[in-house]
């Protein structure tokens, strides 16, 4: 078993074997460098040059303009352009804050942890650049509680960056000062939602706030203007400043710019995390190309795949040729979300897969809204009853009915009767699986077992609600 050694992401440069779109690595360049996470290793490979350049030769507005020109879309899930979001900060209201979302916990997602463990200085440089651009008084770097190594690497990197005058008072001898405070969570997926993260940073339970009025840019941390950005989003800033926003924009497609990290997991031959041209690479490229996952395991075929994390509507074989382009995937009825692709081959028990994703949301509901708290729990129980061989003829209709109460119309993007999108996210796997594989649910109800030819799992253990041991 490989030790606790962060794996390396594979890049797409170095010559295409199979004609997939190629591009330079932007943020994974140090993943193969043994000391890439240290201060010396970072500086030796060009680190902190962008910060020096920005602080000595660019105004804050000029930095903001480069980010606007890059049209980089947020990598945390919603895909909102970072430059536009920064522009929502109200003029003249101070103090204001930058909050870094390092809570990565959307099932299927694995890239922010890599960036924090393997290149923490790149993230810190990005945070200082963002703070300079928007005039932040302090930045908060919130790391998921379960990520001990990421917390260690970032703590060390911050101590070293302070010692070298790259964070703190009068950075690099200029009159710009900003602090970065490392904070961390304690196990709660919902804290990844930006307003819940802010609550958590204030020492509260991680329960989302209602938007409006609590859009972070207007009323965020301590009700001051706040920008929340994802780890991967901010890690791209040093490259953008070292090159230009236009260079970033020119890399891939005009509707999904730059390079982007995707984690491909599940039934593929070589699961991995890849930094690929955004917007032009297709799902098929990632699944099949030898430089990426090299096809489905055992020569089998794709039955379904999750294109953007557990909250996304599932895709099917006919979607494999879609490009990883936000506009295209949105139009096809799902989302790229957090860059998490989960591949299920034709031996997959769709009822079991659906249950597992629903159980996640039931367990992680913060409990603030009734449709989410009660609804996700009921959904989980009904699905589990089916899996256990105790399904009832009316169960499928009940499932859909409960889904309707959480997300009226079952449309995409979902309508919600809840404060945040977590509740409606639990509806995605059910809508996807029931629509396409209704016979698998019916079979469970009729025969108390899955259809022939699918793999059974030794599902047991705890049900819906979290255990406190």
């Amino acid at each position: 078993m490989p030790a606790d050694d962060p794996g390396a992401a594979n890049g797409s440069d170095g010559g295409a074997v199979s004609g997939v779109p190629t591009g330079p690595k932007l943020i994974t360049t140090r993943f193969d460098q043994a000391d890439g996470y240290t201060y010396d290793g970072y500086v030796r490979s060009g680190g902190y040059e962008a910060l020096r350049r920005a602080l000595t030769a660019m105004t804050p507005d000029a930095v903001h303009d480069q980010v606007k020109t890059s049209e980089i879309q947020g990598r945390g899930g919603a895909g909102f352009p970072a430059g536009v979001k920064w522009g929502f900060l109200p003029d003249g209201v101070f103090p204001r804050y930058i909050v870094v979302n390092g809570d990565e916990s959307e099932p299927g997602t694995y890239k922010d942890r890599m960036l924090m463990e393997l290149d923490p200085h790149q993230l810190i440089e990005g945070v200082v650049l963002a703070s300079y651009a928007v005039g932040a008084a302090q930045a908060f770097l919130y790391v998921r509680g379960e990520m001990a190594l990421a917390q260690e690497r970032i703590a060390q990197a911050l101590n070293d960056a302070y010692a070298n005058n790259l964070v703190g008072t009068n950075i690099l001898g200029t009159d710009f000062s900003v602090d970065i405070h490392l904070s961390w969570g304690a196990g709660a997926y919902i804290v990844g939602e930006e307003t819940a993260l802010i609550e958590s940073l204030e020492g509260e339970r991680g329960m989302p706030r209602l938007k409006p009025p609590f859009f972070p840019a207007a009323k965020g941390l301590y009700l001051q203007p706040t920008i929340v950005n994802n780890v991967e989003t901010l890690s791209n800033l040093p490259w953008i400043i070292n090159h230009s926003g236009q260079d970033f924009y020119d890399l891939a497609s005009p509707t999904s710019t730059g390079m982007r990290m995707f984690a491909v997991s599940g039934h593929v031959n070589a699961p991995g995390v890849f930094e690929v041209p955004n917007g032009t690479t297709t799902f098929r490229d990632l699944v099949e190309a030898p430089e990426y996952c090299g096809g489905v395991r055992n020569g089998r075929s794709v039955k379904a795949f999750i294109p953007g994390g557990a909250s996304a509507i599932w895709f099917f074989p006919e979607h494999l040729d879609l490009p990883l382009d936000k506009a295209t995937v949105d139009q096809a009825g799902s989302m790229l979300g957090s860059g998490a692709i989960v591949v299920m081959d034709d031996t997959t028990d769709m009822v079991a897969a659906c249950w597992r994703v629903v159980r996640f949301f039931a367990r992680e509901s913060c409990g603030k809204c009734t449709p989410c708290r009660e609804g996700t729990t009921w959904l989980e129980r009904i699905l589990k009853r089916m899996l256990d061989g105790n399904g009832r003829p009316e169960d499928l209709a009940t499932l859909v009915d409960v889904c309707e109460s959480i997300s009226p119309g079952l449309a995409w993007p979902p309508k919600q009767t809840t404060i945040c999108p977590l509740g409606p996210s639990a509806v995605s796997p059910i809508v996807s699986a029931v629509e396409r594989f209704r016979h698998e649910f019916d079979h469970y109800v009729e025969h108390g077992r899955p259809i022939d030819g699918v793999e059974r799992h030794a599902i047991h253990g705890t049900s819906g609600v979290a255990v406190h041991v």
Binding site: D112, A155, A163, A186, Y222, G266, V342, H457
Partner: protein, 195 residues
């Protein structure tokens, strides 16, 4: 069990001083309590309330929301097996079943010698390395039954003591407040709060 030690009080006060409002230090300071005792005791929560200037009920109100905080002793090693979708697809439930048999306990409980607790947990951001688990939040990837047995042996005989501290200790490197801490955030926020 106990209030925070003098050393942990110094660390706690350092964290509190960096926060624009003291309550923002609550979760990191709760982790200190868990590092000290392996779980968060009632005495520690009362002490934390004093340090931060809030009520014990507020401390418990926040702490009880978060799954990592334990309010009674758990094993020296918490083994968290991810059973979420990517891991389920590649045998996580079978691994969990093996773990339960090997340790003679059900998921969610602790061995009588106090060495091991098993939990089945949600995605731990290692989906391409499925099935994955964590021991006290240190990762193991693509775990087979044989790997699991070897892991348990190594933990029992101390072979992993350097890599894996007892439950409660997260990062062993801490951010410290340097001389050039600008403190603009705290001062500006205090000025606003005073109005």
């Amino acid at each position: 069990m106990s209030r925070l030690s003098d050393h942990h009080v110094i660390v706690a006060n350092d964290i509190i001083a960096r926060c624009p409002r003291p309550k923002s230090a609550l979760i990191p300071v709760l982790h200190l309590a868990q590092e000290q005792d392996g779980y968060v005791s009632t005495d520690a929560m009362e002490h934390i309330a004093e340090l931060i200037g809030i009520t014990p009920a507020e401390v418990y109100g926040t702490a009880s929301f978060y799954e990592m905080f334990k309010f009674e002793p758990v094993g020296k090693y918490c083994i968290n097996v991810c059973t979420n979708i990517s891991c389920q697809l590649l045998g996580a439930w079978e691994l969990l079943e093996h773990a339960e048999e090997r340790l003679g306990i059900k998921s969610g409980s602790t061995t009588t010698d106090g060495m091991f607790t098993i939990e089945d947990v949600e995605c731990i951001a290692a989906c391409t390395e499925a099935p994955a688990l964590q021991v006290n939040y240190r990762y193991r990837y693509r775990v087979t039954n044989e790997d699991f047995d070897a892991l348990v042996d190594d933990l029992r005989n101390g072979a992993l003591d350097d890599e894996i501290p007892p439950h409660g200790t997260l990062a062993r490197v801490r951010q410290t407040t340097p001389d050039n801490w600008a403190d603009t955030g705290r001062r500006a926020q205090e000025a606003v709060d005073a109005r």
